[in-house]
Symmetry: C2
Subunit: 329 residues, 2 copies
Amino acid sequence: MKDVALGIDIGGTNTKFGFVDREGNMYAETSVSTVETAPGDVEAYLKYVYEEVEKLRDTIDEKMNIVGCGIGAPNGNYFTGTIEYAPNLTFQGVVPILKIFQQYYDVPMVLTNDANAAAIGEMIYGGAKGMKNFVMITLGTGLGSGFVANGELIYGNDGFAGEMGHLMHRPGGRTCGLGRQGCLEAYVSATGIKRTVFKLLADMVDETPLRDVTYNNLSAAMITDLALKGDPVARAAFDYTAELLGRSLSDIVAIFSPEAIFLLGGLAKAGDTLFKPTKQYMEGHMFEIFKNKVPILSSALEGRNAAVLGSSALAWKEISPVIDVSAQP
Amino acid sequence: MKDVALGIDIGGTNTKFGFVDREGNMYAETSVSTVETAPGDVEAYLKYVYEEVEKLRDTIDEKMNIVGCGIGAPNGNYFTGTIEYAPNLTFQGVVPILKIFQQYYDVPMVLTNDANAAAIGEMIYGGAKGMKNFVMITLGTGLGSGFVANGELIYGNDGFAGEMGHLMHRPGGRTCGLGRQGCLEAYVSATGIKRTVFKLLADMVDETPLRDVTYNNLSAAMITDLALKGDPVARAAFDYTAELLGRSLSDIVAIFSPEAIFLLGGLAKAGDTLFKPTKQYMEGHMFEIFKNKVPILSSALEGRNAAVLGSSALAWKEISPVIDVSAQP
C-alpha cells in the first residue's frame, strides 16, 4: 500500500488528475473532459471525476492509499474552498467545490489556483526545495504567478493574491481575456506573443513564413522554432516579450527580493530564446542592490504533468509541512 | 520599574530615540545629530548615542528597564544587522551596527529600514492590529514600503525586500536620489510632488503663488495648503500624484490582496486632498475581483514619532510576537 495524494487540475477544457507520492513520483495520471459531462452541473461533474479517479485507481497493481487531495482551478480560493466566478468554467458564481468533493474522500483537501499550485509543487518536489522566498511565473494562455515569502505562499486577505498577469502594463492597451485593457498577460504569455507577432507583421516588412499562418493556427512553439532559425519577426516578438517580462520581473524583485524566479508553461518551453534576453532586460532595469542576485530558472516541473504535480503538492504541504526553517540566510 | 523598548531611528540628518512600552506609550524621546559627532566613525557615533540615551533615561522619574532595542535605518538589513551602502549616511560600506551597539545593551536587538519599522509599528500599536496582510507606504523624501503577508513582514532573501519606491514607473524619466531614471519615488513622494509642481509651472499658464516660490523653499505642506484653496497648479499636482500612486497601488493589490493600505509621512499629511483621488484612481485601475475591497487608511502613527515608535515595535515583536493567528479570514 502506497500513501499518495490525489492531485486534480481543473481547466476550462480538461480535468487532469493523478496519484503522487511524497517524493513527487506519479503513479498514474489521466485526463477527462471538464465540459462534456453535465456542463454547469458541478455535482454531476464531481461525481464523474470521482468515478474516473476510482477507475484509474483500479488500473494500478499497488494499492493507492489516498491520504489527501489537492485541487488547482482558476479562481480557486484557498481560504473558502470555493471556485469564484471563473470566466473559463461552465460553473457559474461561487461553487463550494471542496465541500462537494469531500463526500467522496474524507481526507484533508485543499484548493487554490493553478499558478499557486505550481509554486507549491516547485517548493515540495522541484527546484525551490529549501527556498523561503521565490516567485513562480506560469506563461500559458495567460500569465499566472505564485509568490512565496517567509516560506509561505501569499494568498492575501481574500485568497486571491498573486495576480501578476493583471498588473497594468499599458492603460488603454490590449484587451485581456477578462475584458480589461493593458494587462501584462495580454503581452507576456503564449497568447501575448502570438498577438505581438501579428502586430509586428503589420509593423515590419520582412519576409517570414509567419505571413502564411492564420492567427488561430499560430502557436508559441512555432514562433520559438522560427526564432531559433533566425526569423526576424519571430526574434523581434521574443525580444519584445522578453523586454516587458524582464522589466516586470525587476519590479517584482524590488518588492520581494526572491532567491530565484521560476518560469513554467507553454512560452517557457522556448528556453534560452526567452530566458537569455529576459535576464538581460531584467538586470538592465534592476535596482542596484538587487543586480545579479536573482537567477531566472526553468521549473523542474516542466515537461512533467506540472498542474497535477502542483495540485498534489498542495495536499502534501497541508498534511506535513516540510519547509526547512534552518535554510533562512 | 517599567519594561520598555529603546526605539532608535537613524536618519541622514538626525538620530531620534525614545523609550516605548508594550502598549505604545512613549516615556521620553529626543533627537541628536547623526552627522556632527565624528562623521563616518560609526563606533564614536554609537558611543555618543549610548551616552545620550543614558542622559535621557536619567531625566525620567520612573526607572526605565530596557528589555529590547529596535533600530530603523536606511538600508538596514534585518538578517545581518548591518547597514549596507546607505547613500545618505556618512558611514561607508557595510556597517555592523547591531554588533557594535550590543556592547552597550545586552538585550535582543533588531535592525531594519524605516518603512519596515513603520509597518511593524502599525501592526503592534496602530491600525493594523490583528491584520495578517497589509501594506505600509511612507511618503517622505522618498517612497518607502513595508509588506506584511501571512502575519510576517517580507524581508526577502537578502533582507532588502519592499523597495516599492524603486518600481520602474517610466524608463528614462526623472532621476531619483540614487541616480536611476524613472523610479516611482521620483514622482510619488513629498519630493516628487515638488518636482511635479515645477513641471506644471512650465506646462501651465495659470496664475498661482507657486510662481513666487523657489524650488528649495517649496514644501509638500505649502502645496497642500494651496490645493485646499483651489490653486489650479497645486490641484493638478495632487491629481497627477494621486493617479500614479493609485495605479501603482492597484498593481500592489493584484499581487498582495491586502486587507488595507496605510499611508504615512510628509505627503500623507495632505489627508483627503491626497487620499480621495488616490482611492478613485486605484479603484478605476483595479482588477475586478479586488474592486472596493481595500481601504486606503491614514497611519495611526501619523502625528506621533512614527519612526521611533516603529523601531521600538520591532523590538517588541522580536521579544514577544503578538500576531493573533485566529484572525485569519
